[in-house]
Assembly symmetry: C2
DNA sequence: GTGAAAGCGCTAACAG
DNA sequence: CTGTTAGCGCTTTCAC
């Protein structure tokens, strides 16, 4: 292992100077910096994160806590976070929560409390009271991306407004019998249930504002999953009961499931039934799905920026950041048939 | 911050004893261990990764290098890796490569060379000669998951055999005009091109073995993307030229794109055209796609185990690990029509 | 079984 | 502008 002393010896200077030169601090002559950097490169010197972290008290990394990396939304946020971190030369410690229970607890303590990161960016995680308290004690800046969490700042969209707008789009097209595919059972995975709840609330409000009494029977659980959604729509269609003229899915993946089911049963989208989702998933385009687009990548970018700003000593942002959504019409919705 | 000294003071013992007790080393009485642990919990003590890492020389973390987290395959591998790491109480440093060029270089140096992890698990990354050399110098155990890389151990499937088997399945059903959707242009992203190449090779061999001369015109680039695949199949269908009776897509996502295109043009799968993919993507089930299933989760598990074994001082595995694939028939392939 | 002392590789405060 | 001196929080000899 080549340490800072080796570099210092190579250039005939002290370790402090090398340290300063390598970090591009002022108070060091340009020439020295060049010489030092050249020597460091030549010797293949790399600063030990442990050693510098120990003395500075900064890990130069951010802990990103995810319920599961496999979901599209999360991976997008991570990409956004990564972009910002890379620019700032920060690393990323990924903490996969993996459900509730003992495992979750261990995962939580693992990286977070071990000071693997100087700040925490949590994705749609609903921290328990205890966890929140531990975080507070650690004094790490925390931000939640994707869902409001009581007592913590967040970056995300206005879920209620999104649900409202999507539903309103269908109402504007003349639909009055609108099925809603919701999430549900999120708490069981330690996820926040406020996302599906918000979208559902928006859906109901839009209906009421249009003079349409919400029908609980028109709300089905798609569990944020494509297969589950396909299954519930399958059941509905096969039951022979009257079908809605439109479906508002709380996520694109659920909308895909619905579309597959409808197609499979020979029903045309949007001629027979209109479908709208929320997200603008990569596959929304090939599916031709009309959706209320949000940008998880940007949410990750903003969340990371807020954290880094705070770490850089700039005045911390106290409020949450609500990002806009916009409708992308890809033709899966149409005026209701006469 | 509560340090080891605080715990020591609390129990009236030395820091050394506390350190030993907390790590469950022998040479410490059971009673002491219990007392120490209780005190540590009470005070909310957590070991500083930086400090212990500095002295032991181990980061107690693994660096996972991915080209991009957003792809289904990668996220699955990461989940698998995470499971193993969690059990071993290791953390994960995620290194997103993000294309080629300067950015990639920086990302590479960032965590890897900074000793953020004690070993490196790389996903489908084709390291440059230089990078490989730097890794070697660092002396970190390295393993590649998902693709063979010259000079490094890997965990994955036999790509050629998989391509062969998928194609053979179609041949067995009587198909002779089989289109192949391949990847391509991976090098540009710093990805390995050996995955699509291997599958293509297997495809061609199967054809030849069946006495069917491979037709280069029957190989289209789907770029491992659903939309790109939909587009090329759209073009093919709309060109009016004779259609194949079957499609073998080198990934499920490409197969989805093909299915959407065919459906969109009123062609039935499998009545008009059979489709088979490789992966067993989460959406293969709702799509009803027949596929050659691989288990990226298991690949992650195995890769992580190999690394941890080596770190634990067990004899390192020198050879690559080739995992099996198996056919899952969901009805998207059928005998060719007379 | 347990404690005292030394030091991991680096940075920060203070001299010069 | 550069060097010297301490020490970050922990683990690890080496004593006892």
């Amino acid at each position: 292992m080549v340490g800072i002393e080796d570099v210092a010896r190579e250039v005939g200077m002290s370790a402090s100077t090398v340290s300063r030169a390598l970090r591009d601090l002022p108070l060091v002559s340009q020439q020295t910096k060049q010489v030092v950097r050249a020597a460091a490169d030549r010797l293949g010197y790399v600063r030990s994160a442990a050693a510098s972290g120990l003395v500075t008290g900064r890990a130069m990394a951010i802990s990103v806590v995810v319920p599961a990396v496999g979901l599209w939304f999360y991976s997008q946020v991570i990409e956004g976070v990564d972009t910002v971190l890379r620019q700032a030369d920060y690393d990323m410690a990924l903490v996969n929560l993996g459900g509730v229970g003992v495992e979750r607890e261990r995962a939580f303590k693992r990286s977070l409390l071990r000071h693997r990161g100087d700040a925490v960016l949590a994705l749609c995680v609903d921290f328990s009271h205890e966890e929140r308290e531990e975080l507070r004690q650690l004094g790490l800046p925390v931000i939640v991306v994707g869902t409001p969490v009581r007592g913590l700042r967040f970056v995300g969209i206005d879920e209620v407004a999104a649900g409202y707008q999507a539903t309103q789009h269908l109402i504007d097209l003349g639909h009055r019998d609108i099925l809603h595919l919701t999430g549900g059972a999120e708490e069981q995975q330690g996820l926040s249930s406020r996302v599906p709840q918000g979208r559902l609330t928006g859906y109901e409000q839009a209906l009421r504002d249009a003079g349409i009494p919400p029908d609980p029977g028109r709300v089905l659980e798609g569990r944020f999953s494509m297969s589950a959604s396909r299954d519930v729509v399958d059941d509905l269609v096969e039951s022979g009961s009257p079908l809605p003229t439109a479906i508002f899915a709380a996520s694109d993946e659920m909308a895909f499931g619905a579309m597959l089911s409808l197609n499979h049963h020979g029903l045309s989208v949007p001629d027979d039934i209109s479908v709208i989702g929320i997200d603008n998933h990569v596959m929304a385009d090939p599916f031709g799905l009309t959706t209320l687009a949000q940008r998880p990548f940007d949410q990750g970018v903003e969340g990371a920026r807020i954290l880094l700003d705070e770490l850089a000593g700039r005045p911390p942002r106290k409020t949450s950041l609500v990002l806009p959504v916009h409708l992308i019409d890809r033709g899966s919705t149409a005026p209701v048939r006469a």
